[in-house]
Symmetry: C2
Subunit: 491 residues, 2 copies
């Protein structure tokens, strides 16, 4: 019987064996780069057995195999759709000619680039992932700095222009379709600025787009880097969208390691045993917490200062992929799909909204991310433990506190406990591991979409707002004042 | 009868009058600085009447008056508690001697400060608000830059040290209690670094703390700035915690305007008519959406690039204040309290998780923040509208799209609609208005706490994790290896 999970009584984390080492040794899934510890989840051997049976019952491997095989899976049965294959894993496949050619080109370009600053002009999928990895690798030395223009608010552009010298700056315009309004506006603006300085703008302009898009234009751009149509924005970090900027900042070795790490995770995704396939296990647990136990939110909690922009990327990855109401069969779903994703960086967040995580009235699907070792040179030791050990002590303490709670005579200092979390550990934060981590969460997203019966690769939900924005702009232009527009925006 | 709201049928935003100008003119609450438009909420005149009656029924003004009167309101009936008054509004009260003395001292100190960089060492309430306002005022010219150390992860400190020259740097150590572990660790580290350089550290160290705390020590700090015990961390932006750094960056005029703006909002909080008290109206609508309609999340959506750090602060303000399960009467509540708060900056977020906002399976209490005018110098016009107008067109288009939805023959491109939002507008983003906005959300938080029957001023939920972290640290130090600690952290 499918969906037995809905009949199970969740394991109570108040049970005496919650902290038993045998429980934690059993409830673990690991690949060479990633260990997923799920002893703090509300599961027992019966529930785990149900979870482990799901990949076969839901044909998860067949579906993942279709993606590897380049089948057209970005579809809704019986309705028009994007009707594409899903190509992001090819971006880091060492045997893929299209992408390997671009990677080599980007690395060579980066080596010879004469400019001091890089400005990446891109929105959503062309911004959040690149920023997350750029910041995430700060432990490596930087050849240049990146600035991001991602908002139509002119203050974004103004702010970036204050920090760069135009003569010393390379602009990378990123748009898969080549038609994004915000990118075009900024392109026109920058052209004008260079013209006023008497400098040929083209020398400072490159772009990332798909072949034959409106931006595939060698009159405007001195170099053009390609991504494939089949790579969705939120999955595009390992395409030229991320690789070109990262190569300019961190150079060949770091970028190559990063891609290798992502590829290493991809190679675990068809591993049949979920205990050796952490991305799959992570998705099964997300399903248990979200679809079965009804978690209102997904908390991603990285214990690493350098990963402070990571959750903003995962928020997009998860919510844009699976925050939908219609299944691949074209039916409105009865299940809760992707809930609200949030999280910043720890330990900061412990001093902020963790009050509500411990004592609030909602339930979370919570994944903690940590590293066993630190590369920091100021990882000083005092009172017999290093700062990084203190960081990790905080990590484990939160999972224990959430699970076990605390009964006191004062209801206000009582912790109800029985709140679940899982812990994803890696050896240390380096380029290979960050690639592996990124691909882990991409894989989790895809498996989770399979379990929900959702097409994780389109994003129709952003279209209506775009169209209505054009309508409102027309109303703003019209000499006949629109009463609602006037009412809201006149002061 | 109290709580009539639970019997009401929510207004359907599918109704034909949803976009009627009369509806929007009626459903509005305004002060001189703030207009709250709530015509896109699921309310009709009956529901509005219920909401408008609640302040009297729930004695909201009496409770707010107690705060202004300095009564001890930070309590739980029948149980030990922090047992304090709530003093943050005194921080911007021009007749309050204690705070005015400190403000003058900070402004004078800032004028004479010889250093080029400022590093603020503080966590949670000593970090997020200051950062939000520091970034929020970027439109003004900066005398210096601020860097923040807010994480026990040594990478945070290492990263900041790469950006500052110690000889040119002022360190502000912020801790209300004077005993925060993370602050002390960093203090020791910086002392050592200055010692190694043969420089007297004290000349570079000042602190913000309460009188007579362990940090009130003129041997360590060349200047000490005071805040009152009654000012909670998350409410402390207008205390020396925020004022000192902001004075060092933006100078007297900007800081004075900022405080005046916050005070101006405070003066509206006792206004009996909720239609002239936007903070109160905002709280009533938060109650309607959260406690009555069961929203899983609170989305704060600022359409202003400079406000990109604001929601992280409000996430703490809301969730640490009202993310609780126990009422002021010491009873476990039956209501949903503060849910998950999230949001980044728009229009970026429209290209990210808005897929799920439009087509996902959850409901939100959503407040959009916008500005009628732009100060940007690159607010260029093309095709008859400026960039800032395009930004605002996007703002309004989202509320319309969420409310009205769109029916198509394809379920995947169908928008169910009937999703609510409200729009908070101000004239422009300046220091006065940012102060007013901050105090608006502080006021909303307090009123919302009153409605939930919660003490919004303590934070017992962060204590257990802190204590257990110390236990884990002891286990890490012990020569007898702890099996769980080894299992999770050994690689």
């Amino acid at each position: 019987m499918k969906n037995r999970l809905f009949f199970r009584t969740p394991y109570s984390l108040h049970s005496t064996e919650t902290l038993d080492i045998d429980r934690h040794k059993r409830f673990m899934s690991s690949s060479s780069a990633i260990r997923l510890h799920y002893g703090f989840e509300k599961i027992d051997p019966t529930i785990e057995a149900d979870l482990l049976a799901m990949p076969q019952e839901h044909k998860l491997f067949e579906k993942m195999q279709e993606i590897f095989d380049g089948k057209v899976v970005n579809t809704i049965h019986g309705y028009p759709s994007e009707n594409r294959s899903v190509g992001h894993m090819k971006c880091r496949d060492p045997f893929d000619n299209f992408n390997q050619t671009e990677v080599k080109k980007a690395i060579l370009f980066a080596k010879n680039c004469p400019y001091k600053h890089v400005v990446v002009v891109g929105i959503g999928g062309s911004n959040l992932g690149t920023e997350a990895i750029y910041v995430g690798l700060s432990n490596y030395s930087k050849k240049r700095e990146i600035f991001f223009i991602a908002n139509i608010d002119p203050r974004n552009t103004e702010d970036v222009l204050q920090h760069v010298e135009l003569k010393q700056t390379l602009f990378i315009f990123c748009s898969k379709s080549g038609g994004t309004l915000e990118i075009q506006s900024n392109l026109e603006l920058m052209k004008e600025l260079y013209q006023k300085m008497g400098i040929e703008a083209k020398k400072h302009f490159v772009c990332v787009t798909t072949p034959k898009s409106p931006m595939d234009d060698s009159k405007t751009f001195s170099d053009i880097f390609y991504m494939e149509e089949s790579v969705g924005g939120r999955y595009s970090v390992t395409s030229m969208i991320g690789v070109l900027p990262l190569a300019l900042v961190y150079g060949e070795e770091v970028v190559t390691d990063f891609l290798k790490g992502a590829h290493a995770t991809d190679q675990t995704l068809l591993e049949k045993d979920p205990k050796k396939n952490p991305a799959l296990m992570d998705a099964l647990l997300a399903y248990w917490n979200t679809a079965v136990l009804g978690a209102e939110g997904t908390l991603i909690a990285p214990y690493a200062y350098d990963l402070r922009r990571l959750t903003a990327h995962f928020q997009q990855l998860f919510m844009e992929s699976n925050g939908k109401s219609v299944t691949k069969e074209g039916e409105f779903t009865l299940k809760r799909t992707q809930n609200i994703v949030f999280g910043g960086v720890l330990t900061n967040d412990q001093h902020s909204y963790y009050q509500a995580v411990h004592q609030g009235t909602f339930h979370l699907d919570m994944t903690v991310v940590g590293f066993c070792k630190s590369h920091s040179k100021v990882n000083i030791e005092n009172d017999q433990t290093t700062l990084h050990q203190k960081l990790n002590a905080n990590l484990l303490a939160q999972s224990i506190a959430l699970a076990t709670g605390l009964k006191t005579d004062n209801p206000n200092t009582t912790f109800i406990g029985n709140r679940s979390s899982r812990i994803l550990m890696m050896e240390s934060l380096n380029a290979f591991n960050l690639g592996a981590l990124l691909a882990h969460f991409e894989g989790r997203t895809i498996f989770f979409g399979f379990l929900l019966g959702i097409n994780s690769f389109d994003q129709e939900g952003v279209q209506l707002g775009k169209r209505l924005a054009k309508d409102v702009i027309e109303k703003m232009k019209s000499p006949k004042k629109d009463p609602l527009v006037e009412h809201i925006f006149n002061w």
